[in-house]
Symmetry: C2
Subunit: 437 residues, 2 copies
């Protein structure tokens, strides 16, 4: 095949600009690797006049991105606009309906409408490439759909949001509270002016829903993801975690159990020696446990123009080579929405921090409540003394049911000797998964 | 496509047995993921009577593996025999010449004959899958040929031999010497009775030549790999490395420079905080630096039945889905042997350990020789005192040319005050590669 791959790029922001630059920089390399020239046939963005530092000569400008999606001389549409609704969704739908494959970095769109779009794509015998939607340049979607396709996936989990990981890393290194570190991250451009998409875990939850879909051949089910962000993590919790041998990360975890699909995003304590604990700053890391392969780990930059462009172009290379995979790893007619496992049925270990009045008998009250819910204490730290006043108590538990833990914490929080709402952070032991054979 | 993929497996040892078990265990999963049944049509191994714990009913037995390779009802041949010559090579050649794709875990075969076999494969419009040949179940070949195909690769390096990594890890943890730890590894089955393939770096060099080929679209050139094993690493060097903030790993490093392809396998000191330093025991880890993606890291089990079977089956899944990639990432007619960069032109930092007579002036002699070769000292440790007798001196250098270092060490070794041949270990700083954009 020496016919060119004619590409339309919709959106020329950070990611779109990066894709444009990569395609121009590596024109010869891409042709050598695929046997086909890559041609940027058209682009579309909100403002034609904005200075982007891109040489757009010889590239058709489309004021209307939908016209780009319909254009007969465009073979593939890169949707790099973003957002789960509106023009991005319309663009993708239009391109697919016109029999054009789509490559996108849009996690929100796929997390909300992935099943429907996968069916539309396959009805028109094309596919959607979305490597760039999860973990930036790390080819983890390819690992899940292809490289580990011979495995039943036991669990997939990871650090999926670089902003949160940067903030948590800085909080640990500097001992400063969330608000201060967030403000600094905003100054440095690592966090948005409105940071809630990142710090409240929504972005990570979008990505987790997509990873789960690829791992288990299911429709993405964003609505079923249990989501907690990092606003409540304090320097005190980080210090206690270090003392206990853990590091706090915003994790996304997906696991298909016999009772349903567990999907959760929340701050978690991971052991210092776990590979994922070493993933610091703006880096992302994903661990995939397969029954034959055992534990595999993937790390790299989770965002930015270069890494995201690398992933977008990887999907274009696949298309140029004639590779056409089902969007979520199984044919769309077999895609089903998952049965969600309610978070109350999650089983795991817990870190609990309480601010209590320092007087005899308080600990007995707390221990009795935990006992009544069949929760056993693994470790307890009560270091400071402040007779008659408030001191922190930290305890960790053996494996317990989340539902029982939530009820117990409600009761503990209602004790008159407990001065603040209890803080709870889940602990993930992440023992190495050995291969089955 | 609902026609079955009819598989022939040649070799039923650890890996072949693992592939057989995986295909049987995940029959439904593989069909769901590819839309095609996977059928084990035939097997071949040396002894039919050997007990392997495999249910071979319904599978045709071939005493002659070449008959399996020629059989018209076999669509793909898995070569899991091993060895760079003899029956494995004949089998692969026969299968390709009969227009059958081959999937293999055989790094020796491809490192020696990869270019020739790639051309034969493409002449018959088929391909060779070799994910299992490097780093076990970690899909790093897929990452290089596909997931990072939009990047110029700045460097690829990794821990490619689990036996060596296990030995080095154990030496560090126990302080015991190489011979003792090797003997223990042999008892535990982590090292072969004849360990030289592993501990002398040959196996890692095979894998490195293949990674370099995939990264740069070149013929594998095993003969040009500079190879040193781990027999000379001592507990003393490991202790000094820890003190200096480094961990000693057997590394394979490939880098295409303007003067040629650098390929080297040798013990190296890597900073504690580098992700690759955290890859311990039998695990493998590979780092790929691309100009757009920046640094990406891949970790997992590098050997064993399950992980290797996972990789073999990933290649079978690609074939079942109709994916057919050029063997080394570019069409075979464009494959060229690399221009090797001689090791003498390598530039890097060095750790040097000397056993010298403890008397004034010795250090001045050594420093003068280094100065004469334009090698500058970065740090020096001379801790013990033993006037008139032997004491160890350790020094590390700034970046220097290997050729100059080798000459300097020859001259230093010839000094009468230097009691043993100097020990040299290269230091790899591995600063994070930022993306280009």
């Amino acid at each position: 095949m020496t016919t060119p791959l004619r590409i339309g790029i919709a959106g020329l922001g950070t990611v779109g600009g990066g894709v444009f630059r990569l395609l121009r920089t590596h024109r010869e390399l891409l042709q050598a690797r695929t046997g086909r020239p890559f041609e940027i046939r058209g682009v579309s963005a909100r403002s034609r006049r904005r200075e982007r530092g891109l040489d757009l000569s010889g590239v058709e400008w489309f004021d209307d991105p939908l016209a780009l999606a319909r254009h007969p001389e465009i073979d593939v549409v890169c949707e790099l606009i973003g957002g789960s609704e509106g023009i991005a969704r319309e663009l993708v739908t239009t391109a697919l309906a016109h029999g054009k494959p789509v490559v996108t970095a849009n996690k929100a769109l796929l997390a909300h409408h992935g099943g429907e779009l996968a069916r539309l794509a396959e009805a028109h015998s094309v596919t959607i490439g979305w490597e760039a939607a999860v973990a930036g340049g790390i080819p983890v979607v390819k690992a899940l759909r292809e490289g580990l396709a011979g495995n039943r996936i036991r669990r997939v989990y990871g650090i999926l949001n670089g902003t949160c990981n940067y903030i948590l890393t800085q909080m640990r290194l500097t001992g400063r509270p969330f608000d201060q570190v967030l403000a600094e991250a905003q100054r440095l451009g690592y966090a948005e002016a409105d940071p809630s998409f990142d710090v409240d875990g929504i972005d990570a939850a979008h990505k987790l829903a997509l990873l789960a879909a690829a791992a288990y051949g299911l429709e993405p089910d964003f609505a079923a993801v249990h989501v907690e962000g990092i606003r409540h993590v304090t320097p005190l919790d980080i210090a206690f975690a270090e003392e206990l041998g853990y590091r706090i990360k915003l994790l996304g975890v997906a696991r298909l159990t016999e009772h349903g699909l567990e999907q959760r995003v929340h701050p978690a304590m991971v052991p210092h020696e776990a590979p994922i604990a070493q993933v610091e700053g703006v880096y992302n890391g994903v661990t995939v446990e397969g029954d034959f392969v055992g534990t595999t780990v993937y790390e790299g930059r989770g965002a930015g123009a270069g890494p995201t462009a690398s992933a977008v172009v990887a999907d274009l290379v696949d298309l140029a080579r004639g590779v056409r995979l089902p969007v979520f790893g199984v044919p769309a007619e077999e895609l089903r929405p998952p049965t969600p496992l309610p978070m109350s049925r999650h089983e795991g270990c817990y870190y609990i921090r309480l601010q209590v009045v320092d007087r005899p008998g308080v600990l007995a009250e707390i221990a009795a409540i935990l006992r009544d819910h069949a929760i056993s204490i693994e470790a307890l730290i009560q270091r400071a003394r402040n007779p008659g006043r408030g001191v922190p108590i930290v305890l960790t538990t053996h494996e317990a049911r989340e539902g029982a833990m939530v009820t117990a914490l409600d009761q503990i929080g209602a004790l008159t000797s407990v001065l603040e709402p209890p803080r709870m952070i889940r602990i993930e032991p992440f023992a190495d998964g050995d291969p089955a054979v």
